[in-house]
Amino acid sequence: MAILEVKDLQAYYITHKYGRSTSVKAVDGVSFQVEKDEIYGIAGESGCGKSTLLKAISGLAKPPLEILAGEVTYNFDGERLDILALNDEKQRRKLRGARISLIPQGSMSVLNPVRRIRKSFEDIIRAHLDVSAEEFEEMVRKHLDALGLDWTVMHTYPHQLSGGMRQRITIALSTILKPDIVFADEPTTALDVVVQRGVVQLIRKIKEEQRSTLVLVTHDLSIHAKLCDRLAVMYAGKIVEEGEVESIFSTPRHPYTRMLLNSLPKLGDSSARSSAPGAPPSLVNPPSGCRFHPRCPHSMELCRLEVPELLEVGSGHRVACFLERRGADAQRQAVGS
C-alpha cells in the first residue's frame, strides 16, 4: 500500500526583482508513489530539484517556493490526507515531527550553536509530548543507545563535535518521535566510509524498529545500491527514470542515468574518466522537449520538440525517453492483449 502518492507536482521558485518575475522550475510535473516500509532513493544532478521536491512534499514550501499544481497524499493507518490542502499551519506542524520528519541537507548546521545538544532534544520532544524529566532521559538514552551514541554528547555544544557526530545526532533528533515517514536529504555526506556504513546501519535499524518508511536523497550511488529498494533519477526538475534498484543498476535505460553510472570512479583504477558533457541546464529557461537533449549523445529531432512521458518499459521500470518508446509500446500491447 502506498503511504505517499505524489501526482503531477509542480513547484517553482517565483521571485520578483526589478519589476520582472522569474520562475525557477525546480519541480516540474513529478509523480511517484512510495510504498509503506520501503526505502525509496532519489538521485540526480546537482541543482536538479531534489531538495525542493522534499520540501514541497513535506509541506514546507514557503515563498518564494510556490506549489502551482499537484497533489501530495499521505496514507496513515487508512487515513488519507492531502498535505497541500491543509491550510492550517498548526495542523501541518503537528504532522511534521510526529508523522513526517525531514532531515534537511547540510543539517549538521541546523543544530543551534549556542545550545547544548540536550536542549535540542528537549525542544523537539517537549513540542510534541508531555513527559517528565525521567521519562525524557529514559527515552533519549534508549534512542542514543540504539544508535551507538553516548549520553555524554548531551552536554556538548555542536561546534565541539565532528561532522560525523553531528550528523548522527541530527538523525537521532529527527527520529526520536518515531515518525511514519522520514525524508533524509544527503544524510551521509562528508562522512567517512566506516561511519557512512554505520549511518546506513542506523537508518535501517530505525526503519525496522519503528516500522517507518524512508525517502533518501543522496549523490552517493553506492549508498542507493546498498540501501534502497527503488530508485528515482531526476534531471532538471523531472523524474527521468524509476525502478527497482537492481534493475536500474543492471539495465539503466535513460542516457542520463547511464552517464551518471559510467562516471563513477573505481578504487584501484586511475585511468582517465570523463563526465557528462556540457553544464547543468538553467531551470529558468529549461531546454525545450526533453530537457536532456542538448547533452544527449542520442538526441533526435523529436527530442527537441516534445516532452517524453515517464512510461513503463518493464516490471516497475519507468523511463522518460523517446528511444525507449518502442519498448514501452510493446509492453502496453502485451498488457492489453
Binding site: Y13, A43, G44, S46, G47, S51, P64, Q105, G106, M108, S109, D150, T152, H155, T156, Q160, S162, G163, G164, M165, Q167, E186, T189, A190, L191, D192, V193, V194, V195, Q196, R197, G198, V200, Q201, H219, L221, S222, I223, A225, K226, L227, C228, V245, E246, F249, M259, S263, L264, P265, L267, G268, D269, S270, R273, S274, S275, A276, A279, P280, S282
Partner: protein, 319 residues
C-alpha cells in the same frame, strides 16, 4: 632548512577541551603530525580518515585559522604565524571549507564573495569581474545562476561549486579543499576532480584534498595520509597505500568502501567506534579497541612509525 618546500609542517599538535564539569576532557585533535610539499613538484596530497579524526583541524592550522598547541608550519620557508592574515598569504593559499552551508553568510549575496576576492586579490576594476565568470564556468556554473542570489537560494552542490570557484579566482599556489565534492553528483564530481588534476598539471597548483571518497582520492592524488584520532597512521603514495594497505585501520577503511552494486548488500553489522573522546584519550594505539589484530602491546605503548614498503605505518605489527 626549508628551502625547496612549498609547505612544511612539523610535529603539529592541537589540544581541545570538550564538555564541561566532570565530563570535561581534553583531546589531541591533531597529534604530532608532520607533512611537507615540494616547491619544485606540485602534488595532490589527500587526507582521509574517520569523521572526527582531525582532518579539518589540520586544514585550519595550515591556514592559520587556529594556532597549534605545539609544532611549527612554514610556507615557502617562512613561519605561518608571521604570514597569516597577510595579503600575499591569503592570495596564495586558498581554502574550500567543508560545509558550503556554513561557508557563506546567509545574509550576504553569494556574488559579493566573488567580487571582494576579485577586487582585493586580482585588482579587477569595480563593476567588471571577468575572473568570477571564468572560474564559475570551470565548475559548471553560470554567473546568471548566482547573480543576486543569497546562499539559501542555491542548492547544496551549487554552493559547493561556488565555493571552489571563489577559491580559484586568486590563482593560488596551494588549495586546501576540505570535502569539496561531497555534495555533487558523480558526473560533476568527476569534472571537478579532473579540474584539480589540470590545475596541478598545467598551473602547478598543489592541493591538499580532504575527502572520504577513496575512489576519487585514488584517481587524482599522489600521496595520501590516513588519519585516525589525530594521528597519521599510514602515509605514502596513494597507489601503495590503497592497493595494499598495511595498517589494520586502512584495511578497514578500504574494505568499507561500498561498491555501487545492489546485488551485494551490507548484511552484517559493523562495530562503530565508541565515543570519540574515549578513543582519543586511549593509551597505546588508538585503534586497539577495534583492531582485529590487536596484541597486548597495543594497549600499552604507542606504536612508532615504521618504514615499510615505501611508506610510514604507525603500528606495532611492523616493529
Amino acid at each position: 632548512m626549508h628551502s625547496g618546500k612549498l609547505l612544511e609542517a612539523s610535529d603539529l599538535t592541537k589540544v581541545f577541551t570538550k564538555g564541561q564539569g566532570f565530563v570535561r576532557s581534553t583531546i589531541e585533535a591533531v597529534s604530532r603530525v608532520s607533512l611537507s610539499l615540494d616547491l619544485a613538484k606540485p602534488e595532490i596530497f589527500t587526507l582521509a580518515g574517520e569523521s572526527g579524526s582531525g582532518k579539518s583541524t589540520v586544514a585550519k592550522l595550515i591556514l592559520g585559522f587556529e594556532a597549534p598547541t605545539s609544532g611549527k608550519i612554514w610556507y615557502r620557508g617562512r613561519p605561518i604565524a608571521n604570514l597569516k592574515g597577510t595579503k600575499e598569504f591569503m592570495k596564495d593559499v586558498q581554502p574550500v571549507f567543508q560545509n558550503p552551508f556554513e561557508t557563506f553568510n546567509p545574509l550576504k549575496k553569494v556574488q559579493s564573495y566573488f567580487f571582494e576576492t576579485e577586487r582585493n586579490f586580482a585588482g579587477s576594476a569595480q563593476g567588471s569581474y571577468p575572473l568570477t565568470e571564468k572560474s564559475l564556468e570551470l565548475v559548471g556554473l553560470n554567473f546568471s545562476e548566482i547573480k543576486d542570489k543569497y546562499p539559501s537560494e542555491m542548492s547544496g552542490g551549487q554552493l559547493q561549486r561556488a565555493s571552489i570557484a571563489r577559491a580559484l579566482i586568486t590563482n593560488p599556489a596551494l588549495l586546501i579543499a576540505d570535502e569539496p565534492v561531497s555534495m555533487i553528483d558523480a558526473s560533476l564530481r568527476m569534472s571537478v576532480v579532473n579540474l584539480f588534476k589540470t590545475l596541478k598539471e598545467e598551473q602547478r597548483v598543489s592541493i591538499i584534498y580532504i575527502t572520504h571518497d577513496l575512489a576519487t582520492a585514488y584517481y587524482i592524488s599522489d600521496r595520501i595520509a590516513i588519519m585516525l584520532r589525530g594521528q597519521f597512521v599510514e602515509v605514502g603514495s596513494v597507489k601503495k597505500v590503497l592497493d595494499n594497505p598495511l595498517h589494520p585501520y586502512t584495511q578497514l577503511l578500504k574494505s568499507s568502501v561500498p561498491d555501487p552494486d545492489p546485488r551485494s548488500r551490507w548484511e552484517e553489522d559493523i562495530a562503530l567506534s565508541d565515543l570519540e573522546t574515549r578513543e582519543y584519550t586511549r593509551r597505546g594505539c588508538k585503534f586497539a579497541g577495534r583492531c582485529p589484530q590487536v596484541q597486548k602491546i597495543c594497549c600499552e605503548g604507542e606504536p612508532d612509525y615504521h618504514a615499510v614498503d615505501d611508506r610510514l605505518v604507525k603500528c606495532h605489527l611492523y616493529s
